[in-house]
């Protein structure tokens, strides 16, 4: 494994930054992201689904904007015919679809804490309430005009995927708006 340089290296300062003695948001960069995009076409979907279910030993594939979390990996249907496989890679026949490594394309932030949803809604105009966007769901939106993907692992626990080139800028904005909640930056 070669050393990977994060987009946040110059501004990732671990520690606690409380407000009124409280920490309500935690940040942790997902280190060494392993992200594989797998995709198919409408008429290869049935065979593709069967193959992926077998390959990953699943009972079914997640629905649109939903995910499945396993011990070793998670699978997310980000677009109707595109899935993201985190922490695992598979090989796909060209007749079924295509795979693409996107591990370096995004900076992934794990954002959690009591005010994680409030913080995200300072920037993202998406209804993140639990009864609207349940856990193991994903959404596409934008922060400061930059398109992002957001995965809700559980209530107040999110994976935020920022295009790598914008990550530093968005990171600074997130940190600024987290000051009002009190935040901590955890070791990667």
């Amino acid at each position: 494994m070669f050393k990977r340089y994060s987009a946040l290296d110059s501004n990732y300062f671990t520690g606690s930054y409380p407000f009124n003695n409280k920490i309500n948001v935690s940040f942790k960069e997902y280190n060494n992201l392993n992200l594989q995009q797998i995709a198919c076409w409408p008429n290869t979907l049935p065979n593709f689904e069967s193959f992926v279910i077998d390959e990953l030993n699943l009972s079914n594939l997640p629905g649109f904007n939903k995910g499945i979390i396993n011990k070793e990996f998670s699978l997310w249907r980000m677009e109707p015919l595109k899935w993201w496989l985190l922490n695992k890679n598979i090989f796909l026949s060209e007749n079924l679809g295509s795979t693409l490594d996107m591990s370096h394309a995004f900076t992934c932030l794990i954002i959690s804490g009591n005010e994680a949803t409030s913080l995200l809604n300072r920037h993202i105009p998406i209804d993140l309430r639990e009864n609207i966007l349940s856990h193991t769901s994903s959404v596409s939106s934008s922060i400061h005009h930059v398109s992002i993907k957001l995965i809700k692992f559980s209530n107040n626990n999110y994976y935020l995927f920022i295009p790598r080139g914008f990550a530093l800028s968005i990171w600074e904005i997130l940190i600024n708006s987290s000051k009002q909640f009190g935040y901590e930056i955890l070791e990667r």
Partner: protein, 987 residues
Amino acid sequence: MTSFRIKNYGKVNRKKAISFKWENKKYYGYEGDSLASALLANNIKIVGRSFKYHRPRGIMSCGVEESGGLVTIGSYDKRDPNVRATTQELYQGLTAYGQNAFPNVNFDLGEINNYLSRFFAAGFYYKTFMGIPPFEWGTGTSIWMVFEKFIRKAAGMGKLSTLPDPDNYEHAHDFCDVLIVGSGPAGIAAAKEAADKKLDVILVEQDSLLGGDQLGDRVFNVDEVYSELKNLNIRILSKTTAFGLYDNCVMGLLEKVTDHKAEVNDSLPRQRFWTIRAKHIIIGSGSLERHIAFNNNDVPGVMTVNASKHYLNRYGVLTGKNIVISTNNDSAYKTAESLYNAGAKVTVLDVRQDISLPPIFKDKIPVRFQTVPYNINGSRKIKSIDLATITDSSYKKIDTIICDQVLLSGGWSPVVHLLSHRGSSPTWNIDNLCFLPGNTKENISIIGAARGIWNREECIKSGIAGALDAMNKMGLTKTNYFFPKEGGWKNPIHPLYEVKHKKLISKSFVDYQHDVTTDDIRLAHREGFESVEHLKRYTTLGMANDQGKMGNIIAISLMADLLDKKISEVGTTVFRPPYTPIAIGALAGRHVGKHFRPLRVTPMHQWNLDNGAVMIEAGLYQRPWYFPKKNETLTDSYIREATIVRKSVGMCDVTSLGKISIQGIDSTEFINRIYANPFAKLPINKTRYGIMLRDDGIVMDDGTSWRLSENEYLMTTSTAQAGKVMSWLEELLQTRWTDLKVNVTSVSEQWAAVAISGPKSRDVIKSCVENSILIENLPFMGFVSTKLIDGIPCRIVRISFSGELGYEIYIESDYANTMMNLLWREVKKFNGCLYGLEALGALRVEKGHVTGAELDGRVTIEDAGLGKMASSKKSYVGSAMRKRGVLNSLEREQLVGFFPINKKHTFGAGTIVCEKNSIKGFGVGRITSVTHSPELGHWIGIGFVKGGKERWKNITLIGSDPVRNKQMELKVVSPHMIDPEGKRMHV
């Protein structure tokens, strides 16, 4: 504290005194005071001066409609003008000043305008400064332009700080089932009912306390209400104004987060701009009490009746000791009783005939029926009031009463603004003399006084009905319910808008801030400005800070009278957001300064900075511009960098190029349809330059595509067009070629890229990879997937933008720094350099390579001199339309190079190329890119000229640059100025 602050009244915290400064003098108030209540408690009557006549202005209300008490808060970079004293919470150390006065509000030299007021009537500016009477000298725009700067200097109230705003602002989003605006009796009832039915409720209140009009009750427990609502899980946003209602129940709101705090923690924003999306909106925004127009109705001490009640019961401030109340409705009597009980002497004037009243109004509070206020005596404070009665439809003075305060209640106007934002016109209600909210089919309910309901019990019922209405409209229930009827007073209201004085010119104000009088309304009518929209613009009525909240109805009634129409026929002006003023900073949120736009950096951004790069914005990207050595200028630096590239080797971060992965068994067919030149037979491990056209045959973008495998390509695009090309490919696959099995994905962020250019580039790369033989044998436009010497996988393509032997290395982004360190170590061994965008541009201009400056959306493939590349055997996007005659005319401008005749001359991009005897218009061509050519030793350019190079052989043209006021002689040359045969890059 003072004789105006009375014991046992109010909800302020008397245990906590707060000091503040007014006009540089220290005063005290209490926690819970507004600035207005603290000023009144300290017997400060004059708080500002009016706009035109500089007349003294006092506090006239207790809410957002305030038109008199507009003050400046803070100093230096925190100076904030036109703050309503009535809504500004008092805090320790607050400093406030009056406005529009010199040297101060108590003695203002500008008051001379008051004596010249007959010259400042409506339309004064238009009449005077667009042609000066009597001879209309200097008519037209030019004379207006002369005076405009003086008028602008005199205009406006308060003075903004010119320093950068030190505060933070932010945007926020939220969602709910029901959003309720207003926490009066109706709003609270609606919130409880909706929450009780398990709906997710947000309750918004512009005040710092919940309660609405109930805050004016002597007994009202705010904390109890608050905890009751909290127990129902109702989310409460206080100090938050709903300023605009938009499509699909989207509400814009402004929360004042720290405006009330003495010491601000910079972790908190000053204000928060909310966008709340609800399934249903319930508007309980209440109503505003109206003034009455009569002579000198603006003297400090004039106030609405209900405001006085609020000052008494909320703040414990008795606003006068000898009070005259003038009313045309029942609402004033409760206040009269409260004021009397608090120790004031009270007299009530009621325009109506005798009505039944409680005994107190016979025994202790005199009521004079069919009596109206006629004139106030006094200028800086009220000395007495003249009373009048109606005789033969005119008013006759009958008496004078000594008093120190005049309270007015000319009726109530429901706050219909938010619904009006949705395009629903309010309708005039003749029984209650007010505009009521119009109809809407949207998920919006109106409740309480905003619906024209004056009775508190009925308001509560309307709140419950509003919640049930919400549930029905959301499809959750089918409950039967009804809204109480509007109105609710025992005795009908009687119209009373203006008491006309006999004086030829009276000071009977309608808009207090802008000094619009009833005479101005009449003047506007005489001069033909009869529509309310024209009236508003001609007189500036309702264009001030209060946006007509105080005066609009009076003006409309006068106009109706003058036109001999009903008020319903005249209508009202259109209300638009925002309901109350919003700081520009709040609109910007966190998108300021460094984060005005999102910053995009390459994976080697820090590496470039660490190695001396000066950055430049290229779109959103930060790109290395040049790498100066000691004391080098930009020109020195890029000439040095370009020279080294031509002689030895240089490396340049080219990550910003767009990169698109194209995968699938139909990829070759897809890419062959996209590009104008043939791609079907591109071998694996080869790269080809391609040009894609728009449907209309114009060039969209150029770039290269690499065949990675049988069914996979990597397409590169120009930096500027990366997003557009990606969208275009998606659109084609989703709408036009749905049968193709192709996936396209942007991988611009996945890959970092560096260009290694120059005669020594091959040597550099060979020493950086595991297998140097691969590089030795790599043909021009070939590429190889290999590994750097430390084992990191990379892709290397032999390609040249500079015209020299060149390569581009693509590596996964997180490894970019490692790659740069490795390459730079080797480049230095050859006395090579880092080069930036400026040198990159110089090298490509010398070579005649086009970029976005040339491919500007007007250029065909033939214009760019690349027509021969286009396939004649296949169909591709734009292939039919590019054959149109107009796109193939010999008269079209074609790509050429330009040299100055005098080699010492320079020219700039944008220079228009003209014939010697016709230096005008669009000329015969244009220069799009220029540089000093280190290789040729003089200035060069590329651009377009009609007919191309052959047309202008041996003809001297003129470069005209009217912007820089320059002209120079030019000759047209081939755009390929260096190594036209391409020997260097094929070496």
